[in-house]
Symmetry: C2
Subunit: 474 residues, 2 copies
């Protein structure tokens, strides 16, 4: 199949698109905010950046593209981490930024129906204004958009309790690759009437159509939250601590984040105003948060649980936040990890998952594989251990050149991915495939699986115009 993005769109097609969206719908001037990946890892190219104002306009644009063999890359807040939102050739870039309505908000039904261009933070705020919680929370929530969050099945820090985006979407509206509008905006908890088509668009990375709206699940707002910072001897103790904490609190843990000693030290070194919440240094730390939908004296429950865990030898020390400010200080350490690592040079950022119970063995084997692939490299493995999801980031040796790992990047990725594969894990737990992981996927996923994926892609996007070259190689 020829790569649609390799053929430049006819000027007449671009004129027709402009006629649909009007001058306001065509973005000119400095386009770097759309074409440059936010970390500067990719710089895209496109013949046109179009921002339709409505689902109907999106459909009209797609119909023109389908008729003229013009490829399309949909884009939300341009916060993606795998290049899925960047056009690399002749794809037009279709931004949902002008579609930001809240179409419906029903506290009684615990649902909210929104346009794809609404930011995640705006969606969270709308839910809160109705005394409800939309629990999805990720670092980029201020600028990422619902359409992007849906198309990448975003995860974040509350998955342990509320699930990934997939579990938070009840209905979708999407424009198909032939420019039809699919109205799947159902506000239903139960609907067994045929294939659950929305599941293909959730995490579909814009390769099967363009998500234009979504029905989101809402929850009661937590009335009480308790945050603790804990020192552990090993990842094995941390995993056992999670099991203990869930049993003791009746599953009240909403976050359970692993932080290694080196990661904490680098935060203290590079991020002003941070300090270790614990008096003594411990080889591993865990940031855990508990929440309850009603007053439940969570702090006392957390204290009792931690004391018991200490008796069992699962932890060495623990601090419970005395104030919202202190809780935020704990979280600041967790959120500052990526930035702190940048201070040590160019690392390799991997986002993998295994069975939670396999995390200790996985870390051991992955560290050994990295030591072979890049002797001296340091590893900072952190993140959502409660979901079996580790952000596994090798960085240059202490004092080594910032770019010391550049020529080892591929060797490191291959080495770690082989360990992930041996554990039946995932090489992209929450970031997706996009351009960055596409070829790894082709190497690691079974032929049966790849054949099914290609069959679905060809069936729903026979002309191959939707985000070509992402997820699946052309």
């Amino acid at each position: 199949m020829t790569h649609p993005s390799l053929t430049a769109p006819a000027p007449s097609a671009l004129d027709a698109i402009r006629a649909v969206v009007g001058d306001r719908g065509v973005i000119g001037g400095d386009t770097s905010a759309y074409l440059t990946e936010w970390r500067g890892r990719w710089r895209g190219e496109t013949p046109m950046i179009v921002a339709p104002a409505s689902t109907r306009e999106v459909a009209a644009v797609v119909r023109i593209c389908a008729a003229n063999g013009v490829a399309i890359t949909p884009q939300g807040g341009n916060t993606g981490l795998v290049g899925g939102q960047i056009p690399f050739g002749n794809e037009i870039l279709l931004s949902l930024k002008r579609m930001r309505r809240i179409r419906d908000l029903s506290p009684l039904n615990n649902t909210m129906t929104v346009d794809a261009g609404l930011t995640l933070a705006e969606a969270q705020a709308a839910a809160e204004s109705a005394d409800r919680l939309f629990p999805l929370s990720i670092g980029s929530e201020g600028s990422c958009q619902i359409g992007g969050v849906v198309s990448t099945n975003a995860g974040g820090v509350n998955v342990l309790r509320y699930g990934n985006t997939r579990e938070l979407v009840l209905g979708l509206e999407a424009v198909t690759p032939d420019g039809e509008i699919w109205d799947g905006l159902r506000r239903l908890r139960k609907n067994n009437t045929g294939y659950d088509l929305k599941q293909l668009f959730i995490g579909g990375e814009g390769t099967l159509g363009i998500v234009t709206g979504a029905v989101l699940k809402l929850f009661p707002r937590p009335r009480e939250t308790t945050t603790a910072f804990v020192g552990c001897a090993s990842p094995a103790d941390a995993v056992a601590l999670l099991s203990h904490a869930q049993a003791a609190t009746g599953g009240a843990a909403t976050s359970f984040e692993l932080i290694p000693r080196l990661g904490l030290d680098l935060v203290l070194k590079h991020i002003p105003g941070t300090r270790d919440p614990l008096d003594q240094p411990h080889p591993w730390c865990v940031l855990m948060e508990f929440s309850s939908g009603k007053a439940a004296n969570l702090r006392a429950a957390a204290e009792a649980m931690l004391a018991e865990a200490y008796e069992k030898g699962l932890l060495r020390d623990a601090a419970i936040a005395d104030s919202e400010a202190q809780a935020q200080m704990f979280w600041r350490i967790r959120h500052a990890l990526s930035e702190a690592l940048n201070g040590e040079g160019k690392g390799v950022r991997l986002d993998v998952s295994v069975a939670t119970s396999d995390i200790p063995a996985f870390l051991e084997q992955a560290d050994a594989a990295v030591a072979r692939a890049a002797p001296g490299a340091r590893v900072v493995a952190f993140g959502h251990v409660g979901d079996g999801n580790v952000h596994y980031d090798p960085i240059p040796a202490d004092g080594a050149a910032k770019d010391a790992l550049d020529d080892r990047r591929e060797a490191i990725e291959a080495a770690v991915y082989d360990v992930v594969d041996a554990f039946g894990g995932s090489i992209s737990a929450e970031h997706g495939v996009g351009r960055a992981r596409r070829d790894d996927l082709a190497r690691l996923r079974s032929p049966v699986e790849q054949a099914m994926m290609r069959a679905v892609k060809s069936a729903l996007d026979p002309k191959g115009i939707m985000n070509p070259g992402k997820m699946l190689s052309p």
Copy 2:
């Protein structure tokens, strides 16, 4: 496309299948347990009933079928309600009953990997033996099988808290229509590496392949459970009560089942040993259950919540079970509803859902539609109102002939489905489509949606051999 099940399999193909599974794998003698739908609504036909002993045998059988254009109907416990498990022509019937291993059970990872032929009750018991909960619970759990609950995305009485089967499956193993084994048995909470293919098999009703194994999510076992039986003035009060109960208990409600006066009266009339838990008759009742993963004095919380609801006028009377035996008596009323309705003649059994907040208005309009379509018919609307799911069952007028509604069945279904459609609801909330709802689906689902469904079906089952005539018309 010609209907594969219209051409009889060549004897040579059947011989080849027998050679794969051996004599033990071919079921002869009295086959009514496989061919007769359990309520006697459908009686099937098949050239052969085959029960492979392993996934490899299933794959070998399917390869023979693919090569010879032989259609296949997969069957679990034969407890389905829409005829999806019944072969109606020349499809061979493939039973998973001999595949019943528990392949893996990890309390630390909270997952269980099982064969498709394991019964739901066996899966529940295995989880319990590891001090874990597998929360799916439906009336047929003693005989229905995991492969069947996955293929129909079964719901049940705990969806409010734990979700449908779709939310309880982390990984799948399936045999594709060309006889390949897809190993998607991942034990991961997070995996964003391409289309989530398992979602197509969940609720796919065996039309895209045969589910042979599944990784199921486990939860901490509830340590405390409280069951209440409540009298209400209206469905509107019941819906408001749900919202109040969830807010007051921090979302501790695991079940919230609506029971109308008429339904309760018919249970008392037809089911020996039942009695009204409340002293006075109320127009509507709600059976609610609360559970907690830890000791939480739930009964006191429930009492306080109900007292407050009484003050607000959301309920008229309430009884909290004093013992496990009394709780079971409450549940017996709920579970006996279907049987009690049978005592009143042949009714029309509908399984619909709308937004929870729309339930009161839906019931009003649906009752009016039934009154027009079948004057005098009585309606018993009950069930999982917490999920917006109502089992909506018109029955003959009091004292009318048992078959009084027979000639009105289609008119009633059409009338109610039009109301469901007007509310953006589902005409099959949890029972699926199968043969029974196939033509309604063709009438009510949008052309865009049907085109996408057919595209997926043709892409993954190009020869159309998987459960033909189910869900999609041939």
